[in-house]
Each structure stands twice: as structure tokens, then as C-alpha cells.
């Protein structure tokens, strides 16, 4: 009897205190294909890339974030958290001063990851395997899942598996709907900041390309990676739809050089945030693009493209 009560008590403890009994230390493979051993659940997390911050907030462990970099967009839930500098060149001293248990998103760029690891700071950056190691790049939903799973592995009790499952289901739904649909030509374009140089378009291997295909679109630019193309080439390709970051929409719609493109004339220049392709909102971004490309299939009337946030 005593033994039974004792066993029940232990089981109750296991259910209530997952941190104690969960399989720590855990091992996660990073974007260098190296195993990173995490001995205990991190309570002080430093995030260098906004994608990781977004995931941590979704996993309800945002309160463990003790430092971030200068993110391009403000994420609710991160107000008041000190910044360690710009993402491309954070302050190593401030990172160390914050005493993080783990740093997410440090890459090999400028030797940052190496110099942090050399002073005993644990770094975890997960992305596409076999890609350029110093970029920790996300090329599509598979990499998004990998990151979510890795981040949730080191944060026990979080609902990473549920999030991944929901995204997969949403993407599968879109895939089912657009499976036999007529493929509409589309391009994701990033105008040059200076306004003088040619725009950049997303090709194969980019998360935008994967998103366009998933949404039942036909990307008109098939080269590898991001490439700067001439205006003539963009006009010659003349896709039915142009996808731009919402903040840069006017630069495309008001550019006289592009006025004769059918996407511009037909008001089919649409805004989808660049960050949407590499975040937990990837399914939402794909769904919105699919709705734009195939309004009839999604029971939506054809709209002038709206800004998607």
C-alpha cells in the first residue's frame, strides 16, 4: 500500500515538474551539422534573429528572453528587453554581460559564433543543412519546422510539436486546394533601397520560391537564390502577379518603368511581409498568396491586392 502511494506520488511529481525528469541533457543538431548539448533548461535566453524571438513568444517562453538585437519590427512581448546591438554586428561584451544560458541565432558571420563559444557561451543556430554555414538560412517550411522543433526541444513543456502540426496541416490544406489549379505566374520582388539600382528577385532555394510553389504559383525566375536583375528582364518576364514587401509597394506601383507590366496595370501588385516566409506565419503567408492567385478556389472575390501583415 505504501509502495503504491509512493509510486503514485512519484508519477504525480513527474507530471507536474517536467523540467526535472525530461530528457536533459538534450542534444540538438545545428546548421553546421554539429551536436549541441544542452545540459539543462535555459532560463536566460538571448536572441539575435527575430525569427527565434517569434518562436519563443509562440512557445510561451518569451519571459526567459534577456536580450535581443535591433529587430526590424517590434515584436509585442519584447518591450523593455535590452538590445545588444544590430543583428549583423552585436556587441560581444553585452552578450556576455547578460549571462545567457543559450544564444539563439548567432552565425559564423564576422566570427561571432566562434568567439562566443570560445568563452563558454552556448550557441544554437538551426537552419538548412548543407547550406552556407554562416547564414543559418531558412529555405522553406522544412527549415522552419526544424528551428521550431530545436527551440522547443531545449524549452521543455512548450508546444512546439503542436505549432508544427498546425502549420503542416494548413499547408496541406492549401496544397489540396491548389493541386489541380491553373498555375499563375508570379514573382517576389525586392526593390533596391537606393532606387537607382535594379531590383532583387527570389529564385530557387529561397523561402519565397517555396512559398510561391506551395501556393500554386509558377515562379517566373528560376535561378538559384536571390539575384539582382535588370528592369528589362523584369518587364520581359511580366508575371501576372508581383509580390513585394508592403512597405515597398509604392516603389513598384509608382515606378514608371514598370507601368506597362500586366501586374501593375491589373493592380495585382500585392504586399506580403518578407518575414512572413521565414516565421511561424509561413502557412498564413502561403494561404494568403494562394487566395490572391486562386480567388475562386478559396471562395474569395477577386480583390485589388491588399497589404498583408
Amino acid at each position: 500500500m505504501v509502495r503504491r502511494i509512493f509510486t503514485l506520488l512519484v508519477m504525480a511529481l513527474i507530471a507536474v515538474i517536467p523540467d526535472v525528469v525530461t530528457a536533459f541533457p538534450v542534444s540538438v543538431v545545428d546548421d553546421r551539422c554539429q551536436e549541441i548539448l544542452v545540459e539543462a533548461a535555459p532560463h536566460r535566453i538571448l536572441v539575435l534573429l527575430p525569427f527565434y524571438a517569434e518562436i519563443l513568444l509562440k512557445l510561451d517562453v518569451g519571459d526567459r528572453i534577456v536580450g535581443i538585437t535591433d529587430f526590424p519590427e517590434d515584436l509585442p512581448g519584447l518591450y523593455g528587453i535590452p538590445s545588444v546591438g544590430p543583428a549583423h554586428s552585436p556587441s560581444r561584451e553585452q552578450i556576455v554581460a547578460l549571462r545567457p544560458d543559450i544564444v539563439f541565432g548567432a552565425t559564423d558571420w564576422d566570427g561571432l559564433r566562434g568567439s562566443l563559444e570560445s568563452v563558454g557561451v552556448k550557441v544554437l543556430t538551426v537552419g538548412c543543412f548543407g547550406g552556407v554555414p554562416d547564414l543559418g538560412s531558412i529555405t522553406g517550411p522544412a527549415d522552419v519546422f526544424r528551428v521550431i522543433e530545436a527551440v522547443s526541444t531545449v524549452n521543455p513543456g512548450s508546444n512546439g510539436t503542436e505549432i508544427v502540426k498546425r502549420i503542416r496541416e494548413d499547408l496541406a490544406t492549401v496544397a489540396r486546394v491548389v493541386k489541380n489549379a491553373e498555375q499563375r505566374s508570379v514573382a517576389v520582388v525586392y526593390p533596391d533601397v537606393s532606387g537607382v539600382s535594379a531590383p532583387t528577385v527570389a529564385g530557387r532555394g529561397t523561402p519565397e520560391y517555396t512559398g510561391m510553389k506551395a501556393a500554386g504559383g509558377m515562379p517566373v525566375f528560376d535561378h538559384e537564390g536571390y539575384m539582382q536583375i535588370s528592369f528589362e528582364e523584369l518587364v520581359r518576364a511580366d508575371p501576372e502577379f508581383l509580390i513585394v514587401d508592403p512597405a515597398r509597394l509604392a516603389e513598384v506601383t509608382e515606378d514608371l518603368r514598370l507601368a506597362d507590366m500586366r501586374a501593375v496595370r491589373g493592380q495585382r501588385v500585392c504586399g506580403i511581409k518578407a518575414s512572413g516566409w521565414t516565421s511561424t506565419s509561413v502557412a498564413a503567408s502561403v494561404l494568403e498568396l494562394a487566395t490572391i492567385l486562386h480567388p475562386v478556389l478559396f471562395n474569395s472575390e477577386f480583390l485589388k491586392c491588399k497589404v498583408l501583415g
Partner: protein, 353 residues
């Protein structure tokens, strides 16, 4: 004559001592001031504990890591790079008898930048040591070509003017190569190349210090040994010949050492401008043109100038950092204008206007 009292021998030694103290002060400020301020006493305790570890010495936590792993090697590297650039600038100005000469005159900066741009462009930036090695090779290659062109004449004698012009031409060529690589690169590579060009010491670690400090010290010692020859060279090649100096051989050796030292510095810190141009002039204003004193004064002034500039670069927009080359240009540019005005004023006084 204005400034003559300063340049009299009596004051040179005390001046060097003062410059030495300035170096110590700038290093002290550099190690304690930053994105995370470390009190000077704590810094001294940490450094003392590291140099003479005793039982019972207490770790100062993250201060120790910040100071010993990041800040101290960076400050020492800044001092060493500043020394290298300043003494090489002094020597170049002495060899070419040209006040606009600097360590990058022979195209080292252009070649090094092109080497780094190429390494980043082809995706080798993540390979350990690839960037410093590419910078070194690019810089040395550029100077080798420039030297080859300068001795291509029928007498095989090194022609100063051809050397300078070839350096300018090759800098322009490598600049075009770099621009092309910048244009063809992705956004990330582009920013990497640009940041490298602006110069910075954020990545300096003890391995960089172990390379830079011996190079700087050996260079200063060697140039000090050749100080008399540099003084003689400033009189002209013919005069130098009459006074027992072989100008061609002497210049060749001095330029070779300058090239090597500058290439090593650039490989670790990128191209930091104005140190090699402005510091020798500032030192000359204070201590005079005698290279026996000028070399040492330039070394000390260069060290403290770059340490100071790096400290400013670290704290001005913290937690972000400015590339140190921007700070040296902001300080050096106006100072150089001041020197030009002074020179014009002196010339006017001489012609009695």
C-alpha cells in the same frame, strides 16, 4: 623659429616619456570603457590576477570574460596596428619625400580589399583564417606588381615616380574589381565587404595579438636602426650616395618591411585610414623631423591614437559599434586640413606676405 624650443634635444626625451604615458592612459581608458563599463580597479585586479594567479583569487564573473577575452586583446591589437600604420607612414613619407605618402601608397589597401572581397564572394568567409590570409596575399600581390612595374625600365633601377603612379593605378584597378564583386554579391556578402573596408577591430583576439605585437615591435626596432639612413635619404638620392648610403638598396629594404608590416596589420583590422598619414605629421610637429626620435614618437602616437579612436568607435553609438576607420577619418581629416593651413601660413610668412 616656431616650435624650435620643443624640438631641442633636451625636450625630446621627456616628450617621448609623455607620449608613453599617453599610451598607458589610453590603454587604461580603453580597457575600462565600453558597452559594459569595467571599473579601473576591477580591471587592474583582473589583469593582475591573470598575470600572477594566486590561490584565492576571485573570478569577477562576466567582467573577467569581457576584459580578458574581448577587450584587452582588442585594445592591445589596436595599439599594435596603430604603431604599425604610424611608423610605416613615417617611413613612406621619408623614403618618398612626399608628405602625402601613407602605408597604402603602393596599393596594399586595394589589393587586400580585393582579396577579401573575392574570398567573401566565393563563400570562403566562414573558413577559418581565410579572410586574413586573402587580405595578406592580395596586399602583397599588389605591391609585387607595383614594384615589378617600377623596375621594368632599362636600368632596372627603382623609379620613385613610377612606383607611386603604379600604386595609384593598381589601387584603381583593384578598386574596380572590388566594386564589381560588391555589385554581384548578395546583400549579406555586400555588407561584409563594406564593413571590412571600413576597418574594425571587433574580431581581434589573442591570436591576432600574438601576430601583431611582435611585428610592430620588430618593425619599430628595425626602422629605428635605419633612422640615420632615413635622415640622409631625405636630402635626396645623390646626397645619400655621397654620404655612403646606397639609396636603392635602402629604399628596397625599407619598403619591403613596410609592405610586410602593413599587410599583416590590414589582414587583421581591415583598411583603417588616416593613421599612417596624419600621425607622422603630428609627431613631426611636436618632435621634429629627425627620424631617430620621429620613429619612436610616431609609434607611440599611433598606438594611442588608434586605441583612443577604437574606444570612441565602441562607445559612441553603443551597443552598436562604428567601424574604427570612420572615427580615424573624422578626426584625421580636419587635422590634416589644419596642417595644410599651417603649412600655407608658414609659406606665406617665408615669402613675406
Amino acid at each position: 623659429m616656431q616650435g624650435a624650443w620643443v624640438r631641442s634635444i633636451r625636450f625630446r626625451r621627456p616628450l617621448l616619456i609623455v607620449l608613453g604615458i599617453v599610451v598607458v592612459i589610453s590603454i587604461s581608458v580603453g580597457v575600462s570603457v565600453g558597452a559594459v563599463d569595467v571599473p579601473l580597479r576591477t580591471a587592474a585586479r583582473i589583469i593582475g590576477g591573470a598575470l600572477w594567479p594566486t590561490k584565492g583569487s576571485v573570478s569577477e564573473g562576466s567582467f573577467s570574460t569581457i576584459l580578458l577575452s574581448f577587450r584587452l586583446p582588442r585594445v592591445i591589437a589596436a595599439a599594435a596596428v596603430g604603431t604599425v600604420l604610424a611608423v610605416c607612414g613615417t617611413v613612406m613619407q621619408g623614403v618618398f619625400r612626399n608628405p602625402l605618402a601613407d602605408p597604402y601608397l603602393l596599393g596594399i589597401a586595394g589589393g587586400a580589399t580585393a582579396g577579401v572581397a573575392l574570398a567573401i564572394f566565393v563563400g570562403w568567409s566562414h573558413v577559418s583564417l581565410m579572410l586574413p590570409v586573402s587580405a595578406f596575399i592580395g596586399g602583397m600581390l599588389s605591391v609585387a606588381v607595383v614594384y615589378g612595374i617600377s623596375v621594368a625600365g632599362p636600368t632596372r633601377a627603382m623609379d620613385n615616380l613610377v612606383l607611386i603612379l603604379a600604386g595609384v593605378a593598381l589601387s584603381a584597378l583593384f578598386g574596380a574589381v572590388t566594386s564589381m564583386l560588391l555589385y554581384l554579391s548578395g546583400e549579406r556578402e555586400r555588407s561584409g565587404i563594406v564593413f571590412w573596408v571600413m576597418g574594425g577591430l571587433s574580431n581581434a583576439d589573442w591570436s591576432a595579438v600574438r601576430l601583431l605585437v611582435p611585428v610592430a615591435l620588430l618593425g619599430v626596432v628595425l626602422f629605428r636602426l635605419f633612422a640615420r639612413d632615413l635622415n640622409v635619404l631625405s636630402l635626396g638620392d645623390e646626397q645619400a650616395l655621397h654620404l655612403g648610403i646606397m639609396p636603392a638598396n635602402c629604399k628596397r629594404l625599407l619598403l619591403a618591411v613596410c609592405t610586410l608590416m602593413t599587410a599583416v596589420a590590414v589582414s587583421q583590422s581591415g583598411t583603417i585610414g588616416f593613421v599612417g598619414l596624419v600621425v607622422p605629421h603630428a609627431a613631426r610637429l611636436v618632435i621634429g623631423p629627425d627620424h631617430r626620435w620621429l620613429i619612436l614618437a610616431s609609434a607611440l602616437a599611433g598606438a594611442s591614437f588608434l586605441v583612443f579612436s577604437d574606444t570612441v568607435a565602441r562607445v559612441l553609438i553603443e551597443p552598436a559599434e562604428l567601424p574604427v576607420g570612420i572615427v580615424t577619418a573624422i578626426i584625421g581629416g580636419p587635422f590634416f586640413l589644419f596642417l595644410l593651413r599651417k603649412r600655407l601660413a608658414t609659406s606665406r610668412r617665408r615669402v613675406g606676405r
